[in-house]
Subunit: 125 residues, 2 copies
Amino acid sequence: MTASCPSGQHAHHDVYAAQCPCRTLLDLLANKWSALAIGALENGPQRFGELQRKLQGVSPKVLTQTLRRLEAFGILDRTVYPAVPPHVEYSLTPLGQSAAIPLNALRSWVEENIDHAFPAAPVAG
Amino acid sequence: MTASCPSGQHAHHDVYAAQCPCRTLLDLLANKWSALAIGALENGPQRFGELQRKLQGVSPKVLTQTLRRLEAFGILDRTVYPAVPPHVEYSLTPLGQSAAIPLNALRSWVEENIDHAFPAAPVAG
DNA sequence: GTCTATTACTTCCCATTGGGAAGTAGCTTG
DNA sequence: CAAGCTACTTCCCAATGGGAAGTAATAGAC
């Protein structure tokens, strides 16, 4: 079952093919901030500021970029409530919710296995 | 009980904490080429050239970088067979094999859901 | 003995991206 | 009328990504 994406319209897709749109989506999701943002949004809609505090160390610029990219691919929705101090909420679309599953698995794996990776824990030992 | 990684020795790790070594590992794995390389190596040890052909579009420089980083974290092993034309094999460590599981899930998700994502609407930078 | 092929990389150099600091907009409170 | 709030931009620089081409060592062809 070989599959080169560009040739067939509904051929099964292959992330290993350079021209497959899968690549773009993989590149979007296989990203530190994307994985973190999607995970944070599983607890329901969140505002920009909340996300920024959760994703410790992210700058507003990079958060905006990440969020807008995810929005462009239909992973999340951006809702603006016209209000005096701006009020914007981000929430996962159904697609985003299903993407959260493998992403959760990845984040959990990292937390559970960091002790087994080499240049890790600066913790005293 | 919240967990900031640097404080406790065996405190549960948190990828959301900026200082947690988890971040580094997440950044390593949440990467296009890493995810692809680890997936490719599930079929057993592979040589550099084989990997380069599988990961369509990767340049030797970037492949080397990716592979060396994964090796440094104990995700994979690099074995050199002293031979006339160089012969180097890469293989997953047990840690790498367990990392392959969530990474497979992510790659599969991408291939199965690309049709539901809005393809490549360019996001202004 | 020189030429060519093979394999697994480096090195160079440039374009894109990541990232911090600070500025912006609009209204509301003191 | 300056300060503050929220959600961003903009500026600027450093790190990373990525392609093209070069390198090393030797076997085999000619």
